[in-house]
Symmetry: C2
Subunit: 180 residues, 2 copies
């Protein structure tokens, strides 16, 4: 996972490990954390595999600049267009979807939409079972918070579904603006 994120970040150009960490932190950092303890060994592995090249700067700072090599780019793009991905991984992939052909991208997004709709229906099914169970109880209010997290799940699934729909249509990025 981290290795692909690093390759993806290097698509924009050469960077040091330190800068890669910063870039990850203030882009996908809200849902994907990378620590130096995992980042530096990952960069070493990528260099060993010949996916990135290392340029040691002479500016006395002991800084290393990593660049994407053709094989690394290939591996990254291959990963990017793969179908199926766990929900956390979906989000990271979408972050890099500007690098993907329009048709492959739309196919993947359609698949993600499908899984989101599936998830939503599954949660709605659970909800109606829970609603029935609750109706036959003396003190349904004792289960308020248990049930509330189901509500969270439903809110999340609905939001996710709508968001994927929006980005498939390439809705104006303004939908992202604050309401003010």
């Amino acid at each position: 996972m981290l290795e692909y994120v690093l390759l993806g970040m290097l698509m924009e150009g050469q960077m040091s490990g330190y800068d890669l960490k910063k870039t990850i932190d203030h882009t996908v950092g809200h849902f994907y954390a990378a620590s130096f303890g995992s980042l530096y060994p990952a960069l070493k592995r990528l260099a060993d595999k010949g996916f990135v090249s290392v340029f040691e700067t002479a500016d006395s700072k002991n800084k290393k600049l990593y660049s994407l090599l053709p094989e690394g780019k290939e591996v990254f793009l291959k990963w990017l267009e793969e179908p199926q991905a766990a929900s956390r991984e979906q989000l990271i992939r979408i972050f890099f979807f500007d690098y993907l052909d329009k048709d492959v991208r739309l196919r993947r997004l359609q698949e993600y939409l499908y899984t989101a709709e599936h998830e939503l229906r599954a949660l709605e099914a659970v909800q109606s079972i829970v609603a029935e169970e609750l109706a036959g109880m003396e003190h349904p209010e004792d289960y308020y918070y248990r049930v509330s997290v189901l509500g969270y799940g439903l809110n999340h699934a609905r939001m996710q579904k709508q968001w994927i729909k929006d980005i498939m249509e390439r809705k104006d990025l303004g939908h992202v603006k604050p309401e003010s």
Copy 2:
């Protein structure tokens, strides 16, 4: 984490490891996965620490029933009322909030609301910076998907904020119903 989830699930009554897995899967399973490979060793640790008791059934199935011991209950409730929790852990804690005193619960939820609002403001700040950067570009559409995940983050943060507000007010669980 898993150990607390197991203790929490045992608050309802005795259960086997297998049943605990099922219960986790169809309650908090949507945001917390537990595999047998982590579950059984966790139960053993809980038994070794004296937090749960093990009753081996004689029904030839080699089934073990786990029950919460007073010390285990104490440890669980102590964990539950702790302040600060990572966002994934917040959700799991809230699932068990029916076991918490009203006043402690409201204090924790108020804190969670605070962090949600903080997160939202941080994302809105990032968004206005990104909007400026985008305005000074020749091809802002080349960054559509990069920016779209920021939109996801904003949607998520807003949803989370509203949800916490709702459950603080103990809004009708009906808000959870499908729109149909």
